[in-house]
Symmetry: C2
Subunit: 206 residues, 2 copies
């Protein structure tokens, strides 16, 4: 079973711990951060941090979930906008890349650390899949309602869209050379954009 936070914690306290931990992760990465570091930054004892969290991975996951929440919040605002569907989906991809960059930077990832931390990222991804799929389905439905898109099965198309983004990401992240060149997020963005173009073309109302 996966480790979870051990004791109920007030939202204010949690938010403060996550702020402090996030700063450290962003600067030193997950691998080089210890529970002691975070406790020191907070000015509390290690024991009191362990009172709430079993390990740093659990804190890291909470930081990531919060980032996910921010991303989804931005996206729901985007859905309220009057932009055309291709602009909405393009903006979506741009924010998605920002979120991915935050994830990668927080881990201060290299190809090696990524390979070792994959299970952690995978568990984050599982929870996120449904949320992302629903967002895309809403975007597509809006496009149909506005007569910009053909009548398609939005759930099927949204699921496939998210699945392809995820596959492209995994494949590109597995290429060691790209990490070394340091432009892995640019490469993924290029692929996302190309796929989004094809995807939209295939369902736009003629």
């Amino acid at each position: 079973m996966e480790k979870e936070e051990k004791t109920a914690i007030s939202p204010e306290k949690l938010s403060k711990i996550l702020d402090i931990a996030q700063k450290r992760f962003a600067r030193f990465g997950l691998a080089k951060t210890t529970m002691s570091d975070i406790a020191d930054d907070l000015g509390v004892s290690k024991a009191s941090l362990y009172y709430y969290f079993p390990d740093k991975e659990c804190i890291f996951k909470k930081v990531m979930n919060r980032e996910q929440g921010t991303f989804c919040g931005q996206m729901e605002k985007l859905l309220q906008s009057d932009k055309k569907i291709d602009a909405v989906l393009t903006t979506y991809i741009e924010h998605r890349i920002q979120y991915l960059k935050a994830l990668l930077n927080l881990g201060q990832l290299t190809h090696e650390v990524f390979s070792a931390t994959k299970p952690l990222y995978a568990s984050l991804g599982k929870e996120f899949f449904e949320r992302e799929k629903n967002l895309i389905a809403e975007i597509l439905q809006k496009g149909i309602d506005r007569n910009e898109l053909q009548k398609i099965n939005v759930d099927e198309y949204a699921g496939f869209f998210v699945h392809v983004l995820r596959s492209l990401r995994l494949y590109t992240l597995s290429l060691k050379e790209l990490w070394e060149q340091g432009n892995i997020d640019k490469e993924i963005k290029k692929e996302y954009m190309f796929f989004t173009k094809i995807f939209l073309k295939s369902i736009e109302k003629l």
Copy 2:
């Protein structure tokens, strides 16, 4: 440096060794096959097999390359046919899945063995990428010449097409549950077909 066959070998001899080894790989898989097994099947001494090949992985790779050659041969025949481009690309995907199945069966793969043998498959894949991309580019060019497809940059689209197939494959092969259910090739086929449909829709001549 990668291990390669050590000594020049006549085409007839090579073909016989690969036939025999392929039968054994197909029945027992790469992991459970030894150089001794292959030598026994051939009725030669282990030493004489080692004279030509440094290890079983090298023989496995040659078997795979031969399968690749067969696949590409079929595809070149397909290119000569008068079928419409969507039928050509669908047939391509069907053969591609057959080839994938052959690869998986020859390795008698499970998720664990796949994870361990990934570098071997990756090195096979690298050589194959260009070949596959060129085939797809030819198919697309034919579609343009016949006025079935829009004028696109065939190299760019072909490269992206092969890249997406590869990404989908890697992602789906990384999902442990699907291996356990034993229908991983069906799942990959479904994804390939969906992507091919979208891809073609996006570039068909209106």
